[in-house]
């Protein structure tokens, strides 16, 4: 019971961390501290945290342009993440990647991707490697609803299926691909049905219910570790912020966004559950949010104190001199 309570609180803390991180990123972007463009995952925290909570440190994850949450949930260091967003030398990629390419290969993140669906063939290779090396690791690829319309997704699902690779295909169906709604761009309303065409079990999950996400992912992980093959999970959720920060969002209404806030917000929903179970109290909530804020403040200070890379550093890291 106490063990369970601890785990639940940890899930809550992780979701809050993702939320606070994204909120901070939005603010620092608006203030001109973050160059380029960033894509935030506010409203989708149950998916990243729920899935990654089922993974071991040696499991693999590939993320997307909207990948901060997956990084944090897989155990990335906030300091080096913020430093990368700022383009600093102590960032995960020494300032070479930025938001869209943050990755920590030491914790099994096999890259974030600026190319939509770019991760799916790569995760298939990771799955093949696991099978050939005969370990019981699993490989997870996150992608968006829009990505499911690209060919590589379908090639990956087919190959993963014929070779029974230990893969979780996790589509975060936030219902929008940039300015394009799912109902326009996808031939099906429910994306999980696409898995059937590849003989992969597919499941649609209430993606704003972290325990439901966790349950589905747990089942898929067990199946993968047992060598029974891939699973396709559709986490149905909603993107609260614009596609990118600064997106004019002419394609949707405020009232549509509002419908997914407050009551449907994944953190609020989970906290209601935890209050009922008496795992959370007002005091613990305040404590967690303030501890997360403290950790984030430390990360920001670290990033601000980190130097920018030297211009010539641009020439390093292309090839290995072996």
């Amino acid at each position: 019971m106490a063990e369970n309570r601890k785990k639940l609180l940890e899930l809550y803390r992780q979701m809050v961390t993702v939320r606070q991180f994204e909120t901070m990123a939005g603010e620092y972007f608006a203030a001109g501290k973050i160059p380029g463009f960033i894509h935030l995952s506010i409203g989708q925290e149950a998916s990243s945290v729920g899935v990654c909570s089922c993974l071991r440190p040696d499991d693999y994850v590939i993320t997307t342009h909207r990948g901060h949450g997956h990084m944090i949930a897989k155990g990335a260091d906030l300091k080096r993440m913020v430093a990368e967003l700022f383009g600093k030398k102590d960032g995960y990629c020494k300032g070479k990647g930025g938001s869209m390419h943050i990755a920590d290969y030491s914790i099994g993140i096999l890259g974030a991707n600026g190319v939509v669906a770019g991760g799916l063939p790569i995760i298939t290779g990771a799955g093949l490697s696991i099978k050939m090396r005969k370990t019981d690791q699993v490989a997870v690829c996150f992608f968006g609803d829009g990505a499911t319309n690209r060919g590589p997704v379908h090639e990956a699902m087919n190959m993963a299926s014929i070779w029974k690779l230990p893969i979780l295909f996790v589509v975060e169906n936030n219902q929008w691909a940039s300015t394009t709604p799912l109902e326009y761009a996808c031939s099906v309303e429910d994306l999980y049905v696409r898995a059937a065409g590849y003989n992969i079990p597919g499941e649609q999950v209430d993606g704003n219910d972290i325990l439901a996400v966790q349950k589905a992912a747990e089942k898929a992980v067990i199946r993968a570790r047992a060598g029974e093959g891939p699973t396709f999970i559709e986490n149905k959720t909603y993107r609260i912020k614009g596609h990118y920060e600064g997106d004019p969002q002419k394609y949707r209404t405020d009232s549509e966004i509002k419908k997914w806030q407050d009551k449907k917000d994944p953190i609020n929903r989970f906290s209601r559950v935890l209050f009922k179970k008496r795992v959370l109290s007002k005091k613990i909530v305040d404590q967690i949010w303030s501890e997360v804020q403290t950790a984030l403040n430390e990360a920001i200070t670290f990033a601000e104190n980190s130097p920018f890379p030297q211009p010539e550093d641009a020439m390093a890291d292309l090839y290995i001199n072996s």
Binding site: G36, G114, G146, T179, K250, Q310, P311
Partner: protein, 326 residues
């Protein structure tokens, strides 16, 4: 008749408006076009004026490019928007094995009037997968034409010619130049593909450039003028077909050439052009041809590194000093 000062984006939209009005078979397809008139607002006004002829697609570059081919084969004149030129990689078969070769393989049975519109270039801190200049890949592909305009007036005249051309055309516009303004005539004018423009006359050195490289040359030429070096700027505008006549005339006058592009140096268009100059104009040259381009790395995210990688006007000036021995 009259020139107005408008942006590259506005010049593009105006030209396409005129063309779409003129020819009902022209349509534009690509991702996220209708609600914001293109990701860069480059098709402003077109979705309202031509409903059903600006088509939003799923994220499916291979099929979007292939649709361009198929529609062109069957009587339409599609313009395919690649969203970011970096994603041409996702439609490479359709571009290189299909569009470029179909007419030839069929013994000339068909025409393929399709424009692949690709916003390219760096400088937006968009990192390695959203910043490339890939035009030279397509110059290496017989069957494709390659257009890279710089100023708004070129954009208007060239896109109109590209749309009217019966061959597949790769049309690259630098993202950072969309907002850049310049004089554009209200007239319905064409700039033929394969005609370069002498944008500034000079006698000491020829600067051969295109796209964003043009503005580097403009800046460098101004600086060089202060040192009494009189540079001639030849904006190539189309890389394939290439206007060797204008290039030759300029080099015959200046006897020195510097080639400038934003794409990375190795295997860039400058390599092809330098080879042709030494082959065809060797006797005219008083110095080896110099090239200026980006350093040979992917585009890094952090600003100081990105700026370091990209060519600057100072690099152009330095190359000019080298070929003029001053």
């Amino acid at each position: 008749m009259t020139d107005r000062i408008i942006s590259s984006s506005a010049a593009l939209a105006e030209a396409l408006h005129e063309e779409m009005q003129r020819d009902e078979t022209i349509f534009i397809m690509g991702e996220d076009l209708v609600s914001h008139a293109g990701v860069f607002g480059q098709f402003k006004g077109l979705p309202e004026h031509f409903p059903g002829r600006i088509i939003d697609t799923p994220i499916s570059e291979a099929c979007i490019a292939g649709c361009g081919v198929g529609a062109a084969l069957t009587g339409m004149r599609p313009i395919v928007d690649f969203h970011f030129s970096d994603f041409v990689t996702c439609g490479m078969d359709e571009l290189c094995n299909q569009a470029a070769k179909i007419r030839y393989m069929s013994g000339g049975q068909v025409k393929l009037p399709v424009v692949f519109w690709c916003p390219d270039g760096a400088g937006l801190r968009a990192a390695a997968q959203h910043s490339q200049s890939l035009e030279s890949w397509f110059v290496h592909m017989p069957g494709l034409k390659v257009v890279v305009p710089s100023e708004p007036s070129d954009v208007k005249g060239l896109i109109k010619s590209a749309v009217r051309d019966d061959n597949p055309v790769m049309f690259f516009q630098h993202k950072k130049l969309f907002a850049r303004e310049g004089p554009v005539s209200e007239d319905d004018y064409l700039i033929p593909l394969g005609r370069a423009a002498v944008k500034k006359e000079g006698k000491d050195v020829t600067l051969l450039c295109y796209g964003a490289g043009y503005y580097l040359c403009e800046e460098a030429a101004e600086k060089l003028a202060g040192e009494k070096i009189d540079a001639e700027i030849v904006d190539l505008r189309t890389l394939k077909p290439l206007d060797m006549e204008t290039i030759a005339a300029s080099i015959a006058k200046t006897h020195r050439a510097v080639i400038v592009h934003e794409a990375c140096l190795t295997g860039g268009f400058g390599a092809e052009l330098a080879a042709r100059i030494q082959d065809e104009l060797f006797d005219e040259l008083d110095a080896p041809v110099k090239r200026v381009g980006a350093r040979d790395v992917p585009i890094p995210f952090s600003p100081a590194m990105e700026d370091f990688v990209l060519p600057r006007a100072d690099d152009v000036a330095a190359a000019v000093h080298a070929v003029t021995y001053r």
